[in-house]
Symmetry: C2
Subunit: 169 residues, 2 copies
Amino acid sequence: MVKVLLSILLVLVVMISIMGKTQKAAVKKERRVPQTLSKGWGDQLIWAQTYEEALFWARSKNKPLMVIFHLDDCPHSQALKKAFAEDEKIQKLADENFVLLNLVHETTDKHLSPDGFYVPRIVFVDPSMVVRADITGRYSNRKYAYEPSDIKLLLSNMERAIKLVKTEL
Amino acid sequence: MVKVLLSILLVLVVMISIMGKTQKAAVKKERRVPQTLSKGWGDQLIWAQTYEEALFWARSKNKPLMVIFHLDDCPHSQALKKAFAEDEKIQKLADENFVLLNLVHETTDKHLSPDGFYVPRIVFVDPSMVVRADITGRYSNRKYAYEPSDIKLLLSNMERAIKLVKTEL
């Protein structure tokens, strides 16, 4: 009899402990993950928060600015983001030679949308604050769009943006 | 002899393993902590990235917008941030009733600096996109500044910003 009671007690204790753990997990799940400025485009990179801040850094560091327009619920943006974040050469070049800004919202500066407001869209801006509308991707209808397969073109466009700053000094 | 050799081997293995760990630690230390949008003002809150985005959310959610201007290397900003992040009532009210934006850089909208560009500075904006220059702190020379000791005044100003939206509907 005592044995039966003891085993019931044991089962209860185990159940309570399991329930406690489940509840803890549920509470933890409710806590939000802090939003990052990188939004997945490279957690190790340093990102400007706003266009004004990015322009300020571009001028003071004399580095070209790379503005990435994207959206969380756009599969093309997500695919390009993955390719961008996983490409070591791009991440290194971005880290060392660019001022970086990624935005899920348009700015009030229409120069950043030379051919419309689509995403994903990557626009380079010279430290002299001139938008480099001449650095384009592969698609004539959306000049500043890139697909994950265009990642090498993006890399060479980044190299071009750096070279243009240096030669124009 | 074999014993001596074995013990030397053991010492070598231990040394290599320790060296490996030290190197790993050094590499890890170099990795940057991802930047958060909250910048310490409340990791659990949802922050807009730019003023444009914040205005969009304020209008679409019909909630007042709270813009916090601050600087990382300003001790007054740091002190207010600590008080703001640790005050549960403020965090709850901010989470439930406000669109939130914190900026370390000025915007191009002069309405957000009714009496100058100092930090810390907290400006409320109505969902109708009107800056509430009438919601001020305790100091006549810097109307939108708050000290950590003014946290209750800030809370009542937040409540006022909510009430003004509702009564003006």
